[in-house]
């Protein structure tokens, strides 16, 4: 059986019908869906107005619903400050094409997200509460993961120091809690050490 690769291709293809043939040898292939860019106007608590592409803004279910009610006007967010909102929008722009499937966001934070979440606790706190009030599940998911990474491998005392948690147990209470619950706790996947 003798044939040549190029000869067969030449005979087989009709170039008029092939609009665009790009043979891309890649590991992952994505088909990007381009939506027409409509812009949403959002006003934060400190009266700053953000103009954001609709696809990016509607990653927040809250904004999506409010946009339906406001129909083209300015969407007011009365409990989100502009500095935090700016960060949230920055995150949304990065992830607008990643879909809603939470499976994609599982596991350790990837590089770009890891740097995004390298913030101090105050900002992390606000990111979590804002992600919750704006109902952006993937952002909340990653914020929680970041928090877990922060306390990974630390002892109880170290966690108390890191999070500035005041130990309001008496010695006896603490011992009792440890004995009652911890004695039956088993696991190879533990982060928190005794």
């Amino acid at each position: 059986m003798a044939f040549t690769w190029s000869k067969t291709i030449y005979m087989g293809l009709d170039p008029i019908f092939l609009t665009e043939l790009s043979i891309s040898i890649i590991i992952f292939s994505t088909i990007a869906s381009s939506k027409k860019s409509r812009v949403s106007k959002i006003k934060t608590a400190d009266n700053e107005i953000f103009e954001v592409e609709e696809a990016v803004a509607t990653m927040s279910n809250t904004i999506k619903i409010m946009a339906g009610d406001c129909s083209g006007g300015v969407i007011p967010l009365n409990n989100v400050h502009s500095t935090i909102f700016a960060r949230v929008i920055e995150w949304c722009k990065k992830h607008v094409d990643d879909g809603e499937d939470l499976e994609y966001y599982k596991g350790a934070l990837k590089n770009c997200d890891a740097t995004f979440f390298e913030v101090d606790q105050a900002v992390l706190y606000h990111l979590l509460t804002t992600a919750n009030s704006l109902d952006i599940k993937p952002l909340l998911h990653q914020g929680c993961q970041r928090f877990v990474d922060m306390i990974n491998g630390k002892t109880v005392e170290e966690i108390r120091q890191l999070l500035h948690i005041k130990n309001d147990f008496t010695n006896e209470e603490e011992d009792e809690t440890r004995k009652k619950l911890w004695s039956s706790v088993v696991g190879m996947n533990s982060f928190i050490l005794l």
Binding site: S24, T83, C144, W182, G187, S190
Partner: protein, 410 residues
């Protein structure tokens, strides 16, 4: 103690002071631009001036802390109870309970004890996510029924019963798998069910009622004759169905199904040809993967299909080793039914069947596809098949070749 606390504080506070300064500058910058507005209206919410050394995380509402705790392994979530009085009761209402036992680390009895104690302490009336994973032994059946009852009585939404063991070509070689309790088949809260190494056999025809079920994944499991048909008809909102290495299924007919994945079946003793009919008018994505023995898939109503993946392998009987007429016909029928699909993915074995086809001068059916994905290592035997596909795709806009090693037999 105080010194240490102080030094930790100061390092933290330097970082937070830096970020506070950055924020203050940013804040003033914006107020400069809107100076007329800022003097008259004070912002209703100004959070970004944190005092260092304040326990902010504990100030989060309960359900958010519990969400964070659900990301920890259950053992660590329990251990947070000793952080402070505020944290003590939080773990008892977390939305996720996930128990995973590695048989090499400690005995099953200890694991059982741990699960029971944890469930005893649990006080929330509802649980979202319940997962159990260990190597099932027959003696555990009753205990497992209790745990499944706990989950169902707490209105679980996502249930995963994943048991280790079993090999691809001998799924039940090791021990008797877990038989799902009959009460599980009637459940109104379940949205997502994952099973591995179970026996799925609802007793009566109308016995399955899963009105909220959207996602079902059954792996390496034994199903009785009509099990899948009963399940599908008892789940009117089922959107995604995945069957991995289960026995042959005769009919999948659903109005709601959008994604169907059949990855390998376990049918080695099936001598004569058997057919699975797929009739899902709203199906958007179909994937036939893995080793399918001699079973044919007949697509009855798949008009909404936009993505299809044919990366399967079938048994070639010795007597027709070089002929493959049967397989050619099977593939031809499938391609004819899939000619309206926009995105087609094809694996090596199917490409090679097409190659044999092409060499004999038979072209593949014309299609409307605009995206073609080939998972292949482009060896000599694939080329005529690729040509055949390209020739039958006059509207093609995008071709993707994922080079993957040839692991299917020729």
């Amino acid at each position: 103690m105080e010194d240490r606390e102080g030094s930790v504080c100061s390092q933290q506070s330097t970082d937070s002071v830096r970020s506070v300064l950055a924020v203050i500058h940013g804040h003033y910058h914006r107020t400069d631009l809107n100076s007329t507005q800022s003097t008259s209206k004070r912002p209703k919410f100004s959070p970004i001036f944190p005092t260092p050394c304040v326990d902010l995380i504990s100030a989060l509402p309960d359900f958010l802390i519990q969400e964070i705790l659900s990301f920890l392994p259950i053992e660590d979530a329990i251990r947070t109870s000793v952080l402070s009085q505020r944290w003590k009761p939080l773990w008892t209402q977390i939305p996720t309970l996930s128990f995973s036992h590695n048989c090499f680390s400690f005995k099953l009895a200890k694991f059982t004890d741990f699960v029971n104690k944890t469930l005893d302490h649990f006080i929330s009336p509802k649980i979202k996510n319940f997962m159990i994973n260990f190597k099932f032994e027959e003696s555990m059946a009753a205990r497992l029924d209790e745990w499944v009852l706990f989950a169902t009585s707490h209105h679980v939404e996502k249930l995963s019963l994943v048991f280790d063991g079993g090999l691809v070509y001998a799924p039940f070689a090791e021990s008797t798998p877990y038989r799902l309790p009959q009460f599980l088949y009637i459940n109104s809260s379940l949205k997502d069910l994952t099973l591995r190494q179970c026996v799925v056999s609802p007793e009566a025809e109308s016995h399955v009622s899963w009105p909220s079920l959207k996602v079902l994944s059954v792996n390496y499991s034994r199903l009785n004759n009509e099990a899948i048909e009963n399940i599908v008809s008892g789940s009117p909102n089922l959107q995604k169905l995945k069957l991995h290495n289960c026995e042959g299924i005769n009919r999948i007919s659903s109005r709601s199904l959008e994604v169907l994945v059949i990855n390998a079946i376990y049918d080695p003793y099936e001598k004569h040809e058997s057919v699975t009919e797929i009739s899902c008018p709203n199906l958007q994505s179909l994937s036939l993967l893995g080793f399918l023995y001699r079973r044919t898939y007949r697509l009855m109503h798949v008009s909404s299909l936009s993505k299809a993946n044919l990366s399967f392998v079938m048994t070639i009987d010795k007597k027709d080793k070089y002929d493959c007429t049967k397989h050619r016909d099977i593939l031809r029928e499938l391609l004819e039914k899939l000619c309206h699909v926009e995105k087609l993915t094809m694996g090596t074995w199917c490409l090679q069947v097409l190659s044999i086809w092409e060499i004999k001068g038979i072209s593949s059916p014309l299609s409307k596809r605009n995206c073609l994905v080939l998972d292949t290592e482009i060896c000599e035997w694939d080329l005529p098949g690729i040509v055949s596909l390209l020739q039958s795709s006059p509207y093609l806009k995008k071709l993707v070749i994922n080079l993957s090693p040839c692991d299917n037999s020729k």
